[in-house]
């Protein structure tokens, strides 16, 4: 099962196993990782599962398609960066084993 590392804004790292097919957001919620709120439950409707993708993984994960629902939600999320994604929109696959994501200072 792929391992994903979530790093809180204060630097605390949580490495957990997430089944293939789940979203990166669900991996955090199911393991009670602090820092991802996911108010809407994964509907891409709230932008409270915002993460920064580690530079080493950005090519593989990619950025949101311009004009997509995710891009429009992110355009007003708190403290966005060029490597921002909504973690509910990233599906875990075998080739994401070892993925590292960082959490913003807040989700609201």
């Amino acid at each position: 099962m792929p391992k994903i590392t979530y790093i809180e804004h204060n630097g605390t790292a949580h490495t957990v196993q997430v089944p293939v097919g789940k979203s990166v957001m669900q991996g955090a919620i199911n393991n009670n990782v602090p820092g991802i709120d996911a108010d809407c439950g994964g509907e891409c409707a709230c932008a409270t599962c915002h993460v920064y993708i580690d530079a080493a993984w950005l090519d593989r994960i990619g950025l949101p398609v311009p004009g997509s629902q995710e891009a429009s939600m992110l355009s007003f999320a708190a403290v966005t960066q060029p490597d921002s994604r909504l973690s509910c929109q990233i599906e875990v696959a075998d080739d994401l084993d070892g993925l590292v994501v960082r959490m913003p200072e807040g989700q609201h």
């Binding site: 919620i29 199911n30 009670n32 602090p34 809407c40 509907e43 409707a45 355009s75 007003f76 609201h108």
Partner: protein, 410 residues
Amino acid sequence: MNQDSRHIVIAGAGHAGGSAAAMLRQMGWQGAITLIGDEPIPPYQRPPLSKAWLQGEATAESLALRPATFYPEATIALRLATRVTGIDRTAKTVALSNGESLSYDVLILALGARARRLPLPGADLDGVLELRSAADADRLKAALQPGARLAVIGGGYIGLEAAASARALGAEAIIIERESRVLARVACPILSDFFHNFHRGQGVAIEVDAQVAALDGANGRVTGVRLGDGRSIPCDAALVGVGAIANDELAAEAGLACGNGIVVDLAARTSDPAIFAIGDCTSRPLPLYERTGRLESVPNALEQAKQAAASICGKPQPAPEVPWFWSDQYDLRLQIAGMPFDTTEIAVRGDVDAGKFALFHLTEDGTVQAVEAVNASTEFMGGRRIIQRRKRLTRARIADMSVSMQELAA
């Protein structure tokens, strides 16, 4: 007192109660947590019940707030199919439906709300349904066979979402609304008209200004909805969606301040410092609007769960959020930010006829109080920011699509 020896009892295992338990652990609470719910299954998400769950697109696993293994792993004692029946604030104990008594150091009331029932003849017939719980949704789903006729009493969000799901399942649907328009209590007339027309286009019949006089039945089962004007609308099932009532009786009996919900402050504390209340059962401050009110929404449940957990764990309180709501019907996504208190005009941004627009509700001085966005997430997100910042805008500027939402919100 050492935190490790303190016991937190959470009464109610819905979205608010389940989230509070998880957030307490996230914030480092080391003491015991007991989470008590009257339903037979662990905490789950209610919003999909009228949508994806009804349409067979969600599983019990995807509905669950957290996997069942989470609770033992996080040493949260989950007591299902159990109800709290009384609170003794002096002894700091709660009585349970199985006769047991549990002592608490901190009590969190997450008792939710229940569907308002119709005080009418026939309301207890089989096939007269409500929609709050997974069990309710399963009953409704069983009734929505292709060709079945569903009468929806009440044109609010639950009713409209259920009608949309009924159509997706090949059932017939008729909405019966007492007011002159659907969504009369929760949306502006432009939005009501839009949803009215959209539902009509999807084959949903709608009766407005219609009083329900009784539910007709045969052999103990509903067969129709009788209206005040004497007409009877035949149906195979009737869904009653006419609002919800806060479950605040336990708190009131225990002498806690209540008034259309359990009165709490911005730390989710009740009038007893050892008791918190969160979610649909509370009457809470709405600091943005300098009012109090009851919010029936998942974001509110989560916000108050966070407030209570932060108070209990001695963490800084989260900043107050702009209330928000959503509803999915057909391929329409409605997102609402804020509440339209004291507003005098509406600015329309986008194209209502094309089904992609946002309605900005302004006070006399141009302060944006609320934004209703249909398939317009950028407007919703930008609107949330504008409301949070108490920005003032003119109608003309909001309607000008050559001005981006980023510029409007800046």
